[in-house]
């Protein structure tokens, strides 16, 4: 290639390249120009704020004035704060329950969609719609579906004779938790299902045929053919799913704002409430920073937990 030629064959350079030409053609310089816009955005608005956030968590700034270094005081205060502990509990519960169900239902839906079906293409396109519609807007629809007085769900259940009084979906502590978890699952299932479906379609049907001839039951076919072949894609999908569930903000903020009595506060909503509405930037930043270890742990568990199988089988990691 021309650039390799220019670097390697110093003897054959016809004339001295001017500084300007070197800036235009030298590989390293050229790369710098190409990387500049993306690097500028990511450093100014991602890396710098990330570092700043960690620094802020050790200071006591308010909106409009910068703070002074106060060491671990924010964290000490949070450690003794019952609301923060509740938020951690809620976040872990929300993430664990929602991710497990999203995975189970998503995989089931993917398996169903992988069957021979009429109008397959349309069905698949429809499945993704909850993922396309902005979360806030579908959260508002759920807010209406979960209305304490006029909920169509309560009404239908009453007509069927299953309950006698309206369900207070978002007013009762555990009802509210299950309701937001349900909404999160509803929103996340299409993503899991469609990505797993893409993986399923690459599994050759002859494997299933061979297994059936050998007398494998449907469960054995799933357990020993489908699941091992899907493992790499499951690992990636679940990592993303856990990540986005753990840091969820929109659904909660629209449906409950963390209520009733902080029962649905996640760490993200609590940090918004403390930092932006309450003005305690340092405390909010400490809550955000406290999310990082949880996030890393969640990512590592879902990534390595599901990848281990691959290493055991002696495949290279790459």
């Amino acid at each position: 290639m021309a650039i390799a030629f220019e670097q390697a064959g110093t003897k054959r350079v016809m004339r001295d390249a001017t500084a300007w030409e070197r800036l235009k053609t030298n590989r390293e310089w050229l790369s710098l120009w190409f990387m500049l816009p993306a690097a500028a955005f990511l450093i100014l608005f991602l890396a710098y704020p990330l570092g700043l956030g960690i620094w802020l968590s050790f200071t006591d700034p308010r909106i409009g004035r910068s703070g002074v270094f106060i060491g671990l005081e924010n964290y000490e205060w949070l450690w003794g704060d019952a609301t923060f502990r509740l938020a951690v509990f809620n976040t872990v519960l929300y993430t664990a329950v929602a991710s497990v169900i999203k995975f189970a239902v998503g995989l089931y839906l993917a398996l169903l969609l992988n069957e021979k079906l009429p109008f397959k293409a349309i069905l698949r396109a429809l499945v993704l719609v909850p993922f396309i519609v902005p979360t806030v807007l579908s959260a508002i629809a759920f807010w209406w579906l979960f209305d304490p007085q006029f909920s169509i769900i309560s009404w239908s259940l009453k007509k069927m004779g299953l309950i006698t009084a309206n369900i207070d979906f978002l007013g009762d502590i555990w009802n509210a938790r299950w309701s937001v978890i349900f909404a999160n699952i509803w929103r996340g299932v299409p993503f899991v299902a469609i990505t797993l479906l893409a993986g399923l379609q690459t599994v050759s049907p002859s494997l299933y045929e061979a297994a059936t001839i050998d007398g494998a039951t449907p469960w054995q076919r799933f357990r020993f053919i489908t699941y091992p072949l899907l493992t790499p894609i499951i690992a990636v999908v679940m990592t993303f799913s856990v990540l986005f569930t753990f840091t969820d903000f929109q659904l909660i903020w629209v449906m409950t704002r963390g209520g009733p009595v902080n029962a649905t506060h996640l760490m993200a909503t609590l940090s918004y409430q403390r930092a932006i509405l309450g003005g305690q930037l340092g405390e909010g930043a400490a809550i955000s920073t406290a999310m990082i270890p949880f996030l890393l742990a969640a990512i590592l568990v879902s990534w390595f937990g599901l990848q281990r199988r691959k290493w055991q089988q002696g495949e290279s990691n790459d």
């Binding site: 050229l30 608005f45 704020p49 499945v127 209406w144 955000s288």
Partner: protein, 309 residues
């Protein structure tokens, strides 16, 4: 990881049409299952899941055209249908609130942020994949890590940064911060597409005396149009969906985006507000649904492309 998985993932067209590359044309073992059996094991659970997934949208659309008196009276009228639809809620939304301005803001922010991100990502992805400067692999990994940094741990420090730069409460606060979410994703996606373009094409062009810039514009970009479309619509969707930055950085009603404005400005004490709220939610999702209807394949490709690395 990249190449190993790339071979295993079906292309989006296959996902949608159902003809995976490995699946042969025979009907497989499905003839072994009788229709009654399939009704229970396939059609019943599938229709149940589809019903749950789509009912909220039906309810949203129905609520937005129901007259007020039917909205809250579930017993006198059948709640699942209405014989006298009204456009009152939609009219109220479009002509008595600032909804058109919010729509315009959202569109403006989404288009600008997406355009900026695509330009930056094309350049970065090309440099990482094809210029392969020293440390390019590390930069690629760092960009993937950047994709894993969620907005909800960034918005607090970012709000002070936005304030320092004097961008607070302007559309630029959003136009310049959204790319941090979009660039990692679209760079990653485009890297995958650029890798599939044969080296030889570029070598020929280099021999013919083309500069890197010309190669990018004349050879690489025309060949990666599907990837560009995928990146564009996915970024656009992410922008439209973004909430926490818009909620934090914008305080005046005139600059708000649709998701934020609906939650903060449209929710009032009116007991009949549900009609216009649902109309707002419906019209707000309409642009994305229309875009989706035209580019289903590209959406799926962007999703699976992001996952397959």
């Amino acid at each position: 990881m990249t190449d190993a998985l790339a071979g295993k993932v079906a292309t989006p067209r296959d996902v949608l049409t159902g003809s995976a590359p490995l699946a042969d044309e025979t009907e497989g073992m499905s003839y072994l299952h009788s229709l009654p059996r399939r009704l229970i094991t396939v059609y019943l659970p599938l229709s149940l899941i589809m019903f749950v997934l789509l009912f909220p949208f039906y309810w949203m659309a129905l609520t937005s055209i129901k007259p007020d008196e039917q909205l809250l009276d579930l017993d006198t009228y059948s709640p699942f249908w209405t014989w006298n639809p009204t456009i009152k809620h939609i009219y109220k939304l479009l002509f008595e609130t600032e909804y058109p301005i919010w729509l315009w803001n959202t569109m403006l922010v989404a288009v600008c942020a997406t355009a900026l991100s695509i330009i930056a990502s094309v350049l970065a992805a090309y440099a990482i994949v094809r210029l392969r400067y020293k440390g390019a692999q590390w930069v690629g990994g760092a960009i993937f890590l950047a994709y894993l940094v969620p907005p909800s741990i960034l918005f607090i420090p970012l709000s002070t940064v936005v304030f320092q730069y004097g961008l607070f409460d302007t559309p630029f606060a959003l136009i310049l911060t959204y790319p941090t979410i979009l660039i990692p994703f679209s760079t990653w996606l485009l890297m995958g597409y650029f890798k599939t373009i044969p080296f030889e094409l570029e070598e020929c062009a280099l021999i013919d005396g083309a500069s890197r810039w010309q190669i990018l514009l004349r050879i690489v970009l025309p060949l990666s149009v599907p990837g560009l479309i995928s990146a564009f619509i996915f970024c656009f969707t992410l922008c439209w969906n973004e909430f926490i930055y818009a909620l934090t950085f914008i305080s005046s009603t005139q600059y708000k985006t649709v998701p934020v404005a609906i939650v903060t400005a449209l929710v009032d004490g009116d007991i009949y507000r549900w009609g216009s709220l649902m109309a707002g939610a419906m019209i707000g999702s309409l642009p994305l649904v229309i875009l989706y209807a035209f580019f289903v394949e590209h959406y799926v490709s962007a999703m699976t492309g992001a996952v397959k690395e």
